[in-house]
């Protein structure tokens, strides 16, 4: 051992306490400085954007709210009088709201879809909010009793007058198609994704063919085939409901997309997880259900919700087979002579966009919330 000079020896006796970071790093001023005004270029871009907003927002605001017509019973209300400008025709939306919601569902029966929608949103809240009691039972009720109840309420029978699906329309059809598609496509997608990774050649081939065929065909084609070609192959007298055919088409189509999304998640699970499960003696289905799928689905939540959102908006395509969803019902009313003015089309389209946006944005926010909540694996 070599000798060390005494004045080079250092032994710490007092430990330093951690200090708070400097205040300029945090808060709104810190954020603004860091993100908007950190360099001359950023300052220029920020100012340009501010100018753009100042140029675009006020006229839009004026059209939507200030110059808008809020009340009225016919087109007279929304026609420009003595040279003044007229903005959005909200009176039109107001007068047609029931049609936009239910289509041509008989007016005296509209309490039925209303009730179904109320039960749906209450049930959804029960199932989706983690703090709710007995959620497991809620999920079962929503998957078993609720569809039966809804079918009875919407279609009728057993004491209720029957309302043919051709009279359904508006938001009602949008929700029926989207919710059925979402609920049916997820389990279908899971089975197809597992099937595509199966070691059994038959199951694998069936899954691959199913996925590739449905994914390779445009949804419009699927809907056309369902409504025009399918009846040609069915025996005389057998008549499938048009809405039901559309539902099946949409569910299978989305299921194929879902399968590929979920397969991506399955591939992201390390081999060790499969081996860990196998080494404990868990069967294939147990290890999938308890170990692999919970992790894989969590990874692909963004992709799954992406498909859901895309499906929700694609419901408008049922228009081409003569069913009228929200957008279809709104568009159909543009030709109403009673309301025909230049501003009803933009007003109606903005209204449709706003309703779609509220639903899609809710799904998006909920998925982000779920992601954060389920992010236990990396939790420190």
């Amino acid at each position: 051992m070599s000798r060390i000079e005494t004045d080079t020896v250092f032994v710490r006796r007092d430990f330093l306490e951690p200090e708070a970071p400097p205040p300029s790093l945090g808060g709104v001023p810190g954020w603004v400085r860091k993100n908007l005004f950190s360099s001359p270029f950023n300052i220029a871009v920020s100012l340009a954007m501010l100018l753009l907003l100042a140029w675009a927002l006020p006229p839009l605001f004026r059209w939507l709210f200030v110059d808008a017509v809020w009340t009225g019973t016919n087109r007279e209300a929304c026609l420009p009088k003595n040279g003044e400008t007229v903005g959005a025709c909200w009176a039109f939306v107001n007068a047609k709201l029931a049609q936009f919601t239910f289509g041509s569902y008989p007016a005296d029966q509209r309490w039925r879809p209303s009730l179904a929608m109320i039960v749906f949103f209450l049930g959804l809240a029960w199932v989706a909010i983690p703090k709710m009691p007995r959620r497991r039972e809620g999920v079962w009720l929503m998957l078993t009793a609720f569809p039966v109840l809804t079918f009875w309420l919407l279609y009728g029978g057993l004491g209720l007058p029957i309302v043919e699906t051709s009279n359904w329309g508006g938001l009602l059809v949008t929700l029926v198609v989207a919710v059925t598609g979402i609920v049916a496509s997820l389990p279908l997608g899971i089975l197809l994704a597992l099937g595509r990774r199966s070691k059994l050649p038959f199951i694998k081939i069936v899954s691959v063919v199913f996925i590739e065929v449905w994914r390779g065909v445009p949804l419009i084609t699927v809907l056309f085939m369902a409504s025009v070609m399918l009846p040609l192959f069915l025996p005389n007298g057998v008549n499938f409901d048009k809405l039901l055919r559309a539902l099946i088409g949409v569910a299978l189509f989305t299921g194929a997309y879902m399968a590929e999304t979920i397969r991506g998640g399955l591939q992201a699970i390390p081999k060790g997880q499969y081996e860990g499960a196998a080494s404990l003696g868990l069967s294939y289905w147990h290890s999938m259900r308890l170990i692999i799928l919970p992790q894989a689905l969590k990874i692909v939540i963004p992709g799954i919700v992406n498909s859901f959102i895309s499906l929700f908006k694609d419901t408008s395509l049922v228009m081409i087979i003569g069913l009228y969803d929200l957008l279809g019902s709104i568009q159909r009313n543009f030709s109403d002579a009673n309301w025909s003015t230049p501003s009803i089309a933009p007003t109606g389209l903005i209204f449709a966009a706003a309703v779609f946006w509220v639903f899609c944005f809710s799904m998006s926010r909920y998925s982000m919330y779920m992601e954060r909540k389920l992010n236990t694996g990396r939790k420190r």
Partner: protein, 255 residues
């Protein structure tokens, strides 16, 4: 808690029997005529250079790898393509991996109770009691409600051992259990394994921890190029290796 004791009543004297086992990965001949017989209560350490087939050998014992030729009999059950038998074997054979392979979405307690509940059909409450018993034995009962990501590597590996023990296995396989750990955590895992050995568990360990091998093994096996090159009692194996390759290997790792 007498019912949680691990000492199993031997159904037969032999726990694992491998006869002329051969395996290929594609063209590559990984296991060449491996013969190995492990008695109940015996503690085997397998060592050898990387790529020598030691991990593959023990992974064949619970059929994480399939052998193409030869016979493997575990606890009286021959491993074939019969999935039922494979699951039967896996229920009785615990395995601890190099990278722990804990389930990150479940708490430590849930990691330990999952298999007893779903495979052994044990009531949840009883499974939790068993899990707490073994978590206490590996000295981390206070972490039961945390997630694996919140634990250190050494703690995770001890949980992995407890998770296997909850199935009350008759045989434990260890696949380089300390190789992925930071040096200061190796000891806590080895101590747990030594404790297990002292209770008479049948153990087959792939490890480079020669101190551990000296302390607990009944037999040390040296593998190279897919073959068992030499096996002996630890004292003799380390002090008087017979084969050239064994000497070379020991020279490299025991500096």
């Amino acid at each position: 808690m007498a019912d949680i004791a691990l000492a199993a009543t031997p159904a037969s004297e032999t726990a694992v029997e491998m006869i002329g086992v051969n395996k290929w990965f594609g063209e590559f001949h990984v296991l060449r005529d491996v013969n190995l017989s492990v008695k109940r209560g015996e503690r085997i350490v397998i060592c050898g250079p990387s790529g020598s087939g030691k991990s593959t050998t023990i992974r064949c014992i619970n059929r994480l790898e399939e052998h193409q030729k030869g016979k493997i009999i575990v606890d009286g059950i021959e491993l074939t393509n019969d999935l039922k038998r494979i699951d039967e074997v896996r229920r009785e054979v615990g395995m601890v991996f190099q990278h722990f392979n804990l389930f990150p979405h479940l708490t430590i307690l849930e990691n330990c109770t999952l298999a007893p509940i779903w495979v052994r059909k044990m009531p949840k409450k009883e499974a939790e009691e068993v899990a707490m018993h073994f978590l206490t034995r590996v000295k981390i009962p206070e972490q039961a409600n945390k997630y694996p990501g919140q634990l250190s590597g050494g703690q995770q590996q001890r949980v992995a051992i407890a998770r296997s023990l909850c199935m009350r296995p008759k045989i434990m396989l260890f696949d380089e259990p300390t190789s992925a750990l930071d040096p200061e955590m190796v000891k806590e895992v080895l101590d747990t394994m030594v404790g297990l050995a002292e209770e008479g568990m049948t153990m087959i360990c792939v490890t480079h921890e020669m101190g551990f091998a000296r302390q607990v093994a009944n037999r040390v096996i040296f593998m190279d190029q897919g073959q068992i090159v030499e096996q002996n009692e630890p004292e003799e194996f380390f002090s008087n290796p017979k084969h050239e390759r064994t000497k070379l290997f020991l020279g490299q790792i025991l500096h």
